[in-house]
């Protein structure tokens, strides 16, 4: 890849990066798009889009099952992304990477294949109060099917995982610890390595499943250093196409797991009576995979690699600190839900404007071309804990500028003007 945005130093060249993202030129409601909904999905660099076009215009073929040139090339390129992703997240081997549709399917794969085979009545599944539904509902279903119990590790006032509670609540009955690396509402980062240490000590038979949907796009990831057993991601949140996710799993666990979906490509030999399974990772990739998008995702990983994940993290710490400082200073009617300490948080910022429903905030911002998200962000239980019916969420990425934070602030000033009388009332 030759990206114009590569820099040797720690600072991203944001204007150069922005030139790689054609959508940032879009005019929304008469204004240049200010895209602050990156926790929902990121925008895409032309390098990824070009890879898709190149694939469909000159390389398209089904993989794995044919010797013709197009098919052999497509197979190689598909497997190349597996290698890139393994390197990107520090996986010991590409065979431990399974492509899925998204994080949700990756978690379902673990819950269904490992969970239903290994979780028994009376076992405990431990999660946190901050889980996204995708790393929560599948485990509720495992608990229902097996008779296991559910435990939720509490978060503190700063939105941080309470490690004392982890010490107290992870125990010999614990069979699964399923935990979000970075909260998609609070932006806070869970101390995974520490949780793994506690789990290994207190519950040696338990697996630690990490939902990396929000962390992999924004933090340097090394699954070997984290020490966890499974790690799930979504390509669409990290400059990649929609329709691709991945599960990394420890080889010994994956090799012992029964298939998840079944059909073509995941079998060894099939007879009318019975079937043998292919080795990993094929065993878990039934049917024609999302070939084009997996190949294009390779270009996204190249792009992030070229920037350097340290530089990405550095940029996001800066813009998040600027955003928190600016919004707190200029908008006293705002409530925030997590610590400001960018050592332990990323660029997802949830907030509320006193007495104004998040939907109205996002509506008024949208009128100015500013895209934020309003709602419960697939985290209903967390919102109960926060005592908020819903929240506004602004979330940053590599192409966001401090000027866009300023635009957000101006937009909030409009909200404050329109809803001045409601805001003036005490908190409802």
């Amino acid at each position: 890849m030759t990206t114009t945005a590569v820099r040797a130093t720690h600072a991203l060249d944001v204007p150069a990066i922005r030139r790689d993202f054609p959508i940032l030129e879009t005019i929304i409601n008469g204004h240049r798009l200010v895209y602050l909904d990156n926790a929902a999905t990121s925008q895409k660099p032309r390098q990824m889009i070009d890879a898709l076009v190149a694939y469909y215009t000159s390389q398209n073929a089904n993989i794995h099952r044919a010797a013709h040139t197009l098919a052999a090339t497509a197979t190689e390129r598909y497997e190349a992304t597996r290698q890139k992703l393994a390197r990107f997240i520090g996986a010991p081997s590409p065979e431990e990477i399974i492509f899925t549709r998204n994080t949700t399917e990756a978690v379902n794969l673990v819950a269904s294949s490992w969970g239903l085979a290994n979780v028994h009545a009376g076992d405990a599944i431990v999660m946190t109060q901050a889980e996204h539904h995708s790393n929560l509902v599948p485990w509720q279903r495992v608990a229902e099917a097996t008779g296991a119990t559910l435990t939720y590790l509490p978060i503190d006032d700063g939105g941080m995982l309470d490690l004392n509670a982890a010490h107290a609540l992870i125990g010999p009955r614990t069979r699964v610890v399923a935990i979000t690396h970075m909260s998609n509402v609070l932006g806070t980062i869970a101390p995974i390595a520490e949780i793994v240490r506690i789990t290994r000590e207190k519950a040696p038979g338990a697996i630690v499943v990490v939902d990396g949907a929000q962390s992999a796009p924004h933090l340097p990831i090394d699954v070997a250093a984290l020490g966890c057993d499974f790690f799930a991601i979504s390509a669409h949140k990290m400059l990649g196409p929609t329709g691709v996710g991945a599960l990394w799993g420890r080889r010994d666990l994956l090799e012992a797991m029964p298939p998840f979906l079944s059909g073509g490509s995941m079998v060894g030999h099939v007879t009318f009576e019975s079937t043998t399974w292919a080795p990993i990772p094929q065993r878990f990739e039934a049917g024609t995979p999302n070939i084009a998008d997996v190949i294009a995702f390779g270009a996204s990983i190249d792009y992030l690699d070229a920037l350097g994940m340290d530089a990405v993290r550095h940029h996001e710490r800066e813009i998040t600190a600027y955003a928190l400082a600016t919004l707190r200073a200029r908008h006293p009617a705002l409530t925030f839900y997590a610590t400001d300490d960018t050592n332990v948080r990323g660029g997802v910022v949830a907030f509320n404007v006193r007495n104004v429903h998040p939907h109205d905030v996002s509506e008024l911002l949208d009128g100015r071309g500013i895209a934020i998200r309003a709602g419960q962000h697939c985290a209903h239980p967390l919102h109960t804990v926060l005592g908020a019916v819903a929240t506004c969420r602004a979330s940053f990425y590599i192409y966001n500028l401090s000027e866009e934070v300023d635009a957000l602030s101006e937009g909030l000033a409009e909200v404050e003007k329109v809803f001045a009388r409601a805001i003036a009332r005490p908190q409802a």
């Binding site: 409601n29 104004v356 429903h357 998040p358 939907h359 109205d360 509506e363 008024l364 009128g367 100015r368 309003a374 709602g375 419960q376 919102h383 019916v389 819903a390 409009e414 003007k417 329109v418 809803f419 009388r421 409601a422 009332r425 409802a428």
Partner: protein, 156 residues
Amino acid sequence: MSEQNPLYQDIILDYYEFPRNRGRVDGADATCRGHNPSCGDDLTVSVKVVDGTIGSVMWDGHACAISEASASMMTEAVLDTPTESARAWVRTVRAAITGRGESDPAIDLGDADALRVVNNRPARVKCALLAWETLDEALTLAAAIESRAHTADGDA
């Protein structure tokens, strides 16, 4: 009023800031909850029917300005009207907002006419309709309870 966004007209903001009939009807015949999971709108409508006429109606909960304003307008519109006219109101508001279905030409929407601003905004149509659809459900429920009560009387 916002210069940029026609949704937030004074009349809507006024209803939002000064809610009408917010709360729960004591001894309601029916109470229904309307939920819009995508944005978190969550309204409860309670209603008491006396001799085929809506004797009390209130709404409660938290929702966006459009939803809450619409809920207040709804209670003003249908209070003290026969349940049949309340149903006609629901249909007429639905037709005004979505352009689909029949409206009752006899009904003058009054303040509720402002809800037309959500036309062509699928994500907001749900907000504007939430209280009305929930009223509709509550009236259906009240009627069902009533008819069951009558059947029970007849049986006795």
